[in-house]
Symmetry: C2
Subunit: 193 residues, 2 copies
DNA sequence: CGCCTGTCTTAACCTGGATTAAGTTTTCCG
DNA sequence: CGGAAAACTTAATCCAGGTTAAGACAGGCG
């Protein structure tokens, strides 16, 4: 469990033991209870978050108080409000824990120091960001061109584990429908009478 | 004009003249007529594209033949089907020119060589990818939580130059409505009788 | 164990935006 | 400069998905 992050990094770049220690020294660990926040609207996102266990969500809250989920992060995923993190200005997004979670975080200044000490990390985070871009592009295909039913099917195909793990209302907030409509939809799928 | 790309890179990282030449040597230049394709569904995206002049679009075509625009790229923007580029497998997206354009491209093998010769490029492309992630996250806020009218307003705020430059039907395909509905909407905005 | 809050369901009604189908510019290019 | 194709508009009709409201069913906590 101690090595979960280092293993993840080493799947993308080589890292000496020494460098591994430097990385771990920059990380702050914290346990997060269900429903507790890492970030709220108006905060400046100071750190990148790495999920060791549990599951987080990144979401916005609209003018009517409805939540819209931009991304989930299960164990082994990084998450941040990238806009706020990059510009160090107040953001409009929330991050909280859907389940009790363990999260490791690096502050922006510390990560900039890490880039100086271990340039290979530039590559690691480039690859992660490029993968995120690929995932977001594909999600736009889904969200612009598919019906709610097809978006649900895409979600099941892409994240079969999450379907089992998440309450239905969060899946609704991710695929962009109301919980009521998702419920109706699932009934129709199961009783195609 | 020759230095357009190098200036863009130097806004993010320092680059010696020597390194600049190495970068330029890896780029293939091409002129692209309006409506000509850089990429079509089923192709493997072999290169990253940098727009020197003109404007490109990245889009998918749904089962009914309707186009859905994931991103525009004006002068000074990079564009690719990231999924296809990273995995080197057949993609589901199209890239074509909305206007006559000049595009410079680097193939994936060549860019991997550039990373070896000029490690600072890892940082350049990390920063670009992180900015893209920030933009996509914000676009999801818009697309999940705003009405068509508000999405149009957001688009105007974010890309005021493009509003003037683009035919209306492409803006419709970007904000996710039909051209007919966008036309009706604009009328209502102008005649609030 | 019980209750209280959060989650899911059902159903009636409503609306933003799609569809279809003409007509009206505009633009482009031969 | 003319003719065809592309771009935009208008309007009638339709439907996916939202809204509202109410009840059913957990399941975590005191």
């Amino acid at each position: 469990m101690e090595d979960f992050l280092l293993e993840h990094i080493r799947r993308h770049i080589p890292l000496t033991d020494e460098e591994g220690k430097t990385v771990l020294a920059a990380m702050r660990r914290r346990k997060l209870k269900k429903k507790h926040f890492l970030l709220q609207e108006g905060d400046v996102n100071q750190s990148s978050f790495f999920v060791v266990s549990g599951i987080l969500r990144l979401y916005s809250v609209d003018a009517n108080g409805f939540e819209h989920i931009i991304q989930f992060a299960a164990a082994g995923w990084w998450m941040s409000d990238m806009q706020s993190l990059l510009t160090q200005t107040a953001g409009n997004l929330y991050i909280d824990a859907i389940e009790d979670s363990e999260v490791w975080q690096v502050s922006k200044p510390d990560i900039d120091l890490l880039y100086q000490k271990i340039p290979a990390l530039e590559r690691y985070f480039r690859l992660l960001a490029e993968n995120a871009v690929a995932a977001y592009q594909q999600r736009f295909v889904s969200s612009l061109s598919q019906s709610a039913k097809d978006r649900y099917a895409s979600f099941c195909r892409l994240y079969p584990g999450l379907i089992l793990q998440l309450p239905q209302k969060h899946i609704a907030a991710y695929i962009g429908v109301t919980p009521e409509f998702l419920s109706k939809m699932l009934n129709q799928l199961n009783n195609p009478s």
